[in-house]
């Protein structure tokens, strides 16, 4: 019998005056965490990418400064030292943790804020970004332009995520209240991958060509109000969780989207919008959520809906991100607008 691990104390790393927007653990190193943050709560001003080291104590290891707030970050699945960041100015930047100051690549195709990033763990050479401009773009580090530009929603795409089980399948949630599934293998008319060539000055204004929205494989109105986040279950193919401004977390089975999955009686408890949901990488029934009510919660889903397992109440501002440790079961990291990163055992 393996002795139970002693619960690690709540560890806190502070980054004063930087409001955190997202936290992601490295898939290569068990000690590395990346946090995307913005000055002035992301309202205006610069961004900063924090790289944290969990040993011996949780501390900030390195920072990268950006000119606009950062909203999300994604570690490369291909290269252990690389990670991408999503900026408020619509750009996507690729960083190398061994270098200093400047990104190794930057793309600027989104016409508005880039809200989320997700690196595919099946096709490890590509990652996606979702943006306020309603589009989802697929990138590969080697190419100067996006591989695909998917006109996914008519409103802001708060988050998009690759299926961890099916290649080229992705899900997105949007301010239009829908959850959509796209299979990139099915045809659609893409957005131009490059911005229109610079128009001569004083000529007619440039406007995006009217591209119809790509037909989704599946689309469902998931929440009353905007849907802010989603995550694929890591063990049950086609099972997703979504969270929205209606304060609910819902579990869906993409094979039958007419209603939330059997086990998906909405998980209620958050008092304000749910900003982030994350399934445990170790257990099929464990789900963490972060919310504007300044708490993070852990839920256990089951046949009768879900059971609230834990409330993490230590943050003093909106909790914007949460992520499970990929190496140590039951360890959760949360980040918030109070400029603090917490790691603790659930």
């Amino acid at each position: 019998m393996q002795a139970a691990l002693p619960p690690p104390q709540l560890q806190v790393a502070r980054t004063p005056s930087w409001a955190h927007y997202s936290i992601k653990p490295s898939p290569f190193f068990d000690h590395a965490l990346a946090v995307a943050s913005s000055a002035n709560y992301g309202i205006i001003g610069n961004g900063r990418l924090h790289l944290l080291h969990t040993r011996p104590q949780l501390h900030v290891d390195k920072i990268f400064e950006t000119q606009d707030g950062l909203y999300d970050v994604a570690w490369s699945e291909l290269h252990e030292f690389q990670l991408a960041s999503a900026s408020g100015d619509g750009s996507v930047k690729l960083w190398d943790t061994n270098l200093k100051d400047l990104p190794i690549r930057a793309w600027h195709e989104h016409t508005r804020e880039t809200m989320s990033l997700d690196w595919s763990n099946l096709e490890k050479d590509r990652f996606l970004s979702s943006s306020w401009d309603g589009s989802i773009r697929v990138w590969t580090p080697d190419r100067p332009h996006s591989l695909t530009a998917l006109p996914a929603h008519a409103a802001c795409v708060y988050q998009a995520s690759w299926s961890p089980h099916t290649p080229a399948l992705l899900a997105s949630v949007s301010a239009d209240g829908t959850l959509k599934l796209f299979d990139l293998r099915s045809p659609f008319s893409a957005l131009p991958s490059t911005p229109a060539p610079p128009t001569p000055k004083n000529s007619a204004s440039w406007a995006p060509p009217p591209v119809p929205l790509a037909p989704p494989t599946m689309s469902v109105v998931a929440h009353a109000g905007e849907v802010l986040t989603l995550d694929w279950n890591k063990y049950r193919p086609m099972v997703l969780a979504t969270g929205g401004v209606d304060r609910a977390i819902k579990v869906w089975d993409a094979r039958n989207m007419s209603r939330p999955a059997e086990e998906g009686a909405p998980l209620l408890g958050h008092e304000y919008a749910v900003r982030r949901v994350a399934w445990s990488p170790h257990r099929a029934d464990l789900l963490a959520s972060a919310s504007y009510d300044m708490t993070a919660r852990v839920w256990q889903t089951g046949p009768n809906g879900g059971v609230l397992r834990m409330i993490h109440d230590q943050h003093t501002e909106f909790v914007a991100g949460c992520a499970w440790s990929l190496f140590e079961e039951g360890v959760l990291a949360t980040c918030a607008w109070d400029g603090r990163v917490h790691t603790f055992r659930v």
Binding site: D133, A154, P198, E226, V245
Partner: protein, 743 residues
């Protein structure tokens, strides 16, 4: 962007107040657009990066030069240069603050990227701008005075370094005659107030017109830059909206939140956004004049930040209320905003520093005057609204919030327990030590109401009858007749059989308390005490028993010699008794005594003697078996347990003892099954409520512990956790069905 969510909400209809408000905004913006930007084709809402179309030649030239430098300083910008498109910005504001439909993409995002564009070349830009300004301004002025249809690339107040007086005049008068834009735009509750403000403006204007030229200029600056004030106003207004959205939240965290404090400062305009930084107001005054406009962009951009959040409110009604509350706050802010803005522009835009200062002071005064009155009304209004919305919201959210207090559930439980106790223990206060099970169904039935039988317990027939009655029945009986010693005794014996020594002792103690001459109760008490290893108490009970049998005892007995004296006394009873008849009770008492000193051979003899006269006594069979097992003869013990169980199938202790014996013999799985059966039997004694909710209350921890050590020896770790949780169902399910052929 979910101010929309705040506004449109889940259940907000189109008749929403804030929607109306925003319509008003849009209409007013429309006027502005006519003024400044009607040359644009279509709605700016659809374009992400609007560029003013069809500039007039001279303007185009001007702008080209201007932006060339700008874009050069930006480096290789592949996107068309951002022409400080305030139209788009303002439209964005309108839709950001208002209920843009879900389908039209909120353009606030476009603005979000603008601060960068503006701030990036700030140093170069400022000088460029100043040099470009003087020549550009007259053109613009002229155009404006004609109600030009040409768009302005940059309706920036500070630019008008060389203002055109006639133009200013007309523009200003126009402004005074038609209610000033920012007043009309705001759905302030008091139209009369706006009028009063207008009058004030007029007076001020008069003094200015009659005054020095520079003062006029400064006034003109302000006239030219009404949108600056409006935009900045919107920033604080949105901050106000956000704050109102959470004002119902009474939690400490929200009160202490720095972010909300930040919003509060924005709302109250203690902070303004300047370039890419947020600075305190006093500081901002000394800075560039761009604060106002950029403030406008900020509001749009931050809308997304708070929108997701504010959207959470989702409650249409709440949004409605917020709207009213929100409209009050910026009302007050506007006064200071206008003042601060104009002073700023004046400060930098003018060459005559002295004159500027004069006008600044003047306006400052005016601003204060305005804001004082405004502040009063605004505060009154806001407080009123807050009060009511607080009350309503508290009501609305009260049930949802109940989960938050982890103590409340506990408290409810306590209350419940207390009530149960009150209800069930009426009249039997002295024995509150014995806690009855809650929800005893027998208390409500007629079965136990039958006349109490007088049991000579050790008569086999009676024993069986007594044994079949459940603990609950007995408890009910006791509760009906709390002064009935017999009932207590039977309950005690029943509990004893069910392997609940603690309760048995309580019940038996109560029985002898009520009726000290109830000999079997003393004996049973002695057995229970000895089972619990309380030797002294066991001796006490036997002593009482012996004394009441009439045997002479020297008083008081010293503890060391107690055992011998008691044995002597008992043997004396046996000797004095009739030779042909064995007194089983005396034999049992002796056996118990020997048992306490672990004199198992003698105990066994006594028990067997007793058994000879009471061949149908399950209790005795069990005791013989236990004595055998204790002396290491588990194999033989099994036969006695078996017999006991034949006589009394629900005899938990016999079942338990069987399990122990089997485990001692190494038959782990069989032993576990017997323990399981014992636990199951024990559980049936509990009320359903207890069995579901707190099985630990009715099943004995001792048995679980033994079962756990048993399964651990069987290498069934999975089962051990069920033992910890006392989860009989789970254990049984995981253990699987037993071999029906096994014992």
């Amino acid at each position: 962007m979910s101010l929309q969510a705040l506004v449109n909400g889940a259940d907000c209809g189109p008749s929403n107040a804030l929607q109306g408000l925003s319509k008003q905004f849009e209409r007013d913006r429309g006027v502005q657009q006519d003024l400044f930007g009607s040359g644009r084709a279509g709605s700016s809402r659809d374009t992400f990066r609007t560029q003013p179309a069809a500039l007039s030649p001279e303007q185009a030239q001007e702008a080209a030069r201007f932006f060339d430098e700008r874009s050069a300083s930006r480096g290789a910008a592949h996107a068309p240069p951002q022409p400080f498109d305030v139209h788009a910005l303002r439209d964005a504001l309108a839709s950001a603050a208002g209920p843009a439909t879900l389908h039209s993409p909120p353009p606030a995002a476009a603005i979000r990227s603008q601060p960068l564009a503006i701030q990036a070349p700030s140093a170069n830009w400022a000088t460029d701008f100043l040099s470009a300004g003087p020549s550009a301004a007259p053109v613009r002025g002229a155009l404006r005075s004609e109600h030009q249809l040409q768009p302005q690339p940059q309706p920036f107040a500070g630019v008008s370094a060389v203002p055109q007086r006639p133009y200013i005049h007309s523009q200003f008068q126009q402004r005074v005659l038609s209610p000033p834009l920012q007043f009309a735009a705001r759905p302030g509750p008091d139209k009369g107030k706006a009028r009063a403000d207008a009058d004030l403006w007029e007076r001020e204007f008069q003094t200015l017109v009659n005054g020095q030229q520079p003062q006029q200029r400064s006034q003109a600056c302000e006239t030219f830059n009404p949108e600056g004030a409006v935009d900045a106003d919107d920033l604080s207004r949105t901050a106000g909206l956000l704050l109102d959205a959470v004002q119902g939240d009474a939690s400490e965290k929200f009160k202490k939140s720095e972010f909300l404090g930040f919003m509060r400062q924005l709302r109250d305009r203690e902070l303004v956004v300047d370039g890419d930084a947020v600075v305190e107001r006093s500081q901002a005054q000394a800075q560039t004049p761009s604060a106002g406009v950029i403030g406008g962009t900020t509001i749009a951009s931050h809308a997304h930040v708070m929108s997701e959040f504010a959207g959470a409110e989702g409650v249409g009604d709440a949004a409605w209320r917020t709207a009213t509350a929100g409209s009050a706050t910026p009302r007050f802010a506007a006064g200071t905003a206008a003042a601060s803005n104009s002073t700023t522009t004046t400060h930098t835009g003018l060459t005559d520093a002295r004159a500027a200062t004069e006008s600044e002071v003047r306006q400052e005064l005016q601003g204060e005057e305005q804001s004082e009155v405004d502040r009063y009304f605004a505060q009154e209004n806001a407080e009123y609204t807050r009060y009511w919305s607080d009350a309503a919201r508290e009501q609305a959210t009260a049930p949802q919030r109940s989960w938050r207090d982890p103590l409340s559930a506990q408290w409810d439980q306590l209350q419940h327990d207390w009530e149960m106790l009150e209800a069930t223990a009426t009249g039997i206060r002295p024995v509150s030590a014995y806690s009855f099970q809650a929800d005893n169904p027998y208390l409500h039935g007629e079965t136990s109401r039958a006349a109490t039988r007088h049991h000579e317990l050790h008569l086999p027939s009676d024993f069986q009858a007594a044994n079949y009655a459940s603990v609950l029945e007995k408890e009910a009986m006791v509760q009906r007749e709390p002064r009935n010693a017999e009932a207590w005794y039977e309950l005690g014996v029943r509990q004893q059989e069910s392997e609940r020594e603690h309760k048995a002792i309580q019940a038996l103690s109560r029985a002898v308390e009520i009726e000290p001459d109830l000999l079997p109760a003393w004996m049973a008490l002695a057995v229970s005490h000895s089972n619990e290893g309380r030797r002294d108490e066991a001796y006490n009970a036997i002593e009482e028993w012996v004394r009441r049998r009439g045997a002479p005892l020297v008083q008081p007995l010293k503890s060391e010699e107690r055992h011998e004296r008691l044995v002597d006394a008992l043997i004396g009873i046996v000797r004095t008794g009739p030779a042909d008849r064995v007194d089983a009770d005396v034999q049992i008492a002796l056996a118990v005594l020997f048992h306490t000193t672990e004199d198992y051979a003698k105990a066994l003899d006594c028990f067997k003697t007793a058994l000879a006269v009471r061949p149908e006594d399950a209790l005795l069979y069990n005791r013989v078996g236990a004595t055998l097992a204790n002396s290491g003869r588990s194999e033989e013990a099994l036969a006695y347990y078996d017999r006991a169980l034949q006589l009394a199938p629900a005899y938990v202790r016999a079942e338990f003892n069987t399990g122990i014996a089997m485990i001692n013999m190494g038959r782990l799985e069989d032993g576990a099954r017997h323990l399981l059966d014992a636990l199951a039997l024990q559980e049936t004694d509990g009320t359903r409520h207890d069995a579901l909710g707190e099985p630990a209350a009715v099943t004995s921890g001792q048995m679980w512990d033994l079962l756990k050590s048993c399964v651990i020896r069987m290498n069934r770790m999975d089962l051990a956790s069920f033992c910890d949780k006392h989860d009989l169902e789970g254990f049984r399910a995981s253990f699987g069905p037993g071999d029906p052929m096994s014992v």
